[in-house]
């Protein structure tokens, strides 16, 4: 399984490096959205609940762009058939795609979080950064699991560009809620605090549940 996942990952990253179809688009979308918020809110800085909401909604929509592209090359260029003809564990594709999406989201956040701090955020990010990274990591795992599951479901339909977000958004709402609630105290201007453990637990549990669901049903999604 590890060798198969490594082969798939290598292929995924090569294709993305050659086409630059996902990560630059996701990052550009996030930065543009922050600029739009900057002008739309007519405020030079935000903090607390509002800051957390803007950050998480922007990251969510940017991640959806990556989810929509995740299986496109495989569906359009016969990659699914090539994979299905090989004597390998099909779960390897789920693992490789989820890691790929996770990597895309991490790169997105490497661009988006500093841009957010620069364009919108009132309080300095420095002290809150370690806790914020922890919340982001927990949420990213859930987004990667759900995103991969939904992308595999949508990609074989004719309306995949529409179906992907329509399926993903309701499933990702709890992650946005958990992420925003956990992040809100970190971004407060007065008396910044630590994320509430119950929201971290919620995110962790959601990751676990959807990781298991994805693992259980992924084989059936690849079947004819």
């Amino acid at each position: 399984m590890r060798r198969t996942v490594a082969a798939l990952l290598r292929k995924e990253l090569l294709v993305e490096l050659r086409t630059l179809e996902s990560v630059p688009g996701m990052s550009l979308f996030a930065v543009t959205t922050f600029v739009v918020f900057h002008f739309a809110l007519n405020r030079s800085s935000v903090d607390g609940d509002l800051a957390a909401g803007i950050l998480w909604v922007t990251l969510l929509f940017a991640a959806i762009l990556g989810v929509n592209r995740l299986f496109v090359a495989d569906a359009d260029q016969g990659g699914f058939d090539g994979f299905l003809l090989a004597p390998v564990d099909r779960s390897a594709l789920l693992v490789a795609k989820a890691i790929t999406l996770l990597a895309y989201i991490v790169v997105l956040e490497l661009v988006a979080v500093p841009a957010f701090a620069l364009l919108l955020l009132g309080p300095p990010l420095g002290q809150a950064l370690p806790d914020l990274l922890g919340v982001l990591a927990l949420a990213d795992v859930g987004v990667a699991a759900i995103g991969t599951l939904v992308a595999a479901l949508a990609v074989r339909t004719r309306a995949r560009d529409l179906l992907g977000p329509l399926l993903a958004l309701p499933l990702l709402v709890p992650i946005v809620i958990g992420g925003a609630r956990a992040t809100s105290p970190l971004l407060a201007l007065a008396h910044p605090g630590a994320p509430a453990p119950r929201w971290l637990l919620t995110l962790g549990l959601y990751d676990l549940v959807f990781g298991l669901i994805a693992y259980a049903v992924f084989d059936f999604l690849l079947e004819d």
Binding site: R3, T4, A7, K11, L14, V15, R18, Q77, L85, P87
Partner: protein, 225 residues
């Protein structure tokens, strides 16, 4: 043991029957050539035999394995060369073959051997999207035989190939190959020359199933009228 045993195979796409009532037996090392006009069900038959599509009725045994129950045993023992090359356009020929080699547990030396055999070694580090259709078809042939499968499923394998390239691929997928082969073809002369058994399909139904020696070119032409 027969390489293929098909009995009453049917496959639908929604309400439409793409394939129905197909029964045949093909011994190991033999070649079945399937003729029929566009939409006759040839590609569907290949995809069912490759375990990519489930049969909706009938019994299908490929290399001794019942489909779809034992599909996992068939994977890795079939080489499929279809209309799509099953290759990534942004990757080079070598990268594509290396990817498939890793999935099939094949060593690097086999890639070099095939690149040389198919005369693509000098362009193997260029992205596939920059190559001609004929070159891509050669890479697709390399992909299909990379893991030395005992059964080859070939859908118009010579499409886009010039006569010199047809000669190059002959030892790998032609009559000299030791594999059992199922070939979809529109070329009565070439197809009959390679066949041990001939299947003619029209609108998903078998209208001709005979040993190649009993079939003449006009019988094939009749399928297309």
């Amino acid at each position: 043991m027969p390489a293929l045993e098909v009995d009453g195979l049917a496959r639908h796409y929604g309400e439409r029957e793409a394939l129905g009532g197909v029964s045949l037996t093909l011994e190991e090392g033999q070649t079945l050539v399937v003729f029929g006009p566009n939409g006759a069900g040839k590609t569907t038959l290949l995809r069912v035999l490759a375990s990519l599509l489930r049969p909706h009725a009938g019994r299908v045994r490929v290399l001794g394995c019942e489909l779809p129950q034992e599909a996992w045993k068939v994977r890795g023992r079939v080489g499929l060369l279809g209309h799509e090359p099953l290759l990534y356009r942004e990757l080079t020929a070598r990268e594509n073959l290396r990817y498939h080699a890793r999935l099939h547990g094949v060593g690097e030396e086999r890639i070099g051997e095939l690149l040389r055999a198919l005369a693509i070694a000098d362009r193997c580090d260029e992205p596939l999207r920059t190559l001609s259709r004929g070159m891509v078809q050669r890479v697709a042939v390399a992909r299909a035989v990379l893991h030395e499968p005992p059964l080859l499923l070939l859908d118009e394998p010579h499409s886009n190939l010039d006569p010199a390239a047809v000669e190059l691929v002959a030892p790998l997928i032609g009559a000299r190959s030791p594999c059992t082969r199922v070939i979809c073809s529109h070329d009565p002369g070439g197809g009959l020359a390679e066949a041990d058994l001939v299947l003619g399909l029209r609108a998903g139904r078998p209208v001709l199933l005979r040993a190649a020696g009993e079939v003449r070119a006009p019988d094939i032409a009749e399928l297309y009228r």
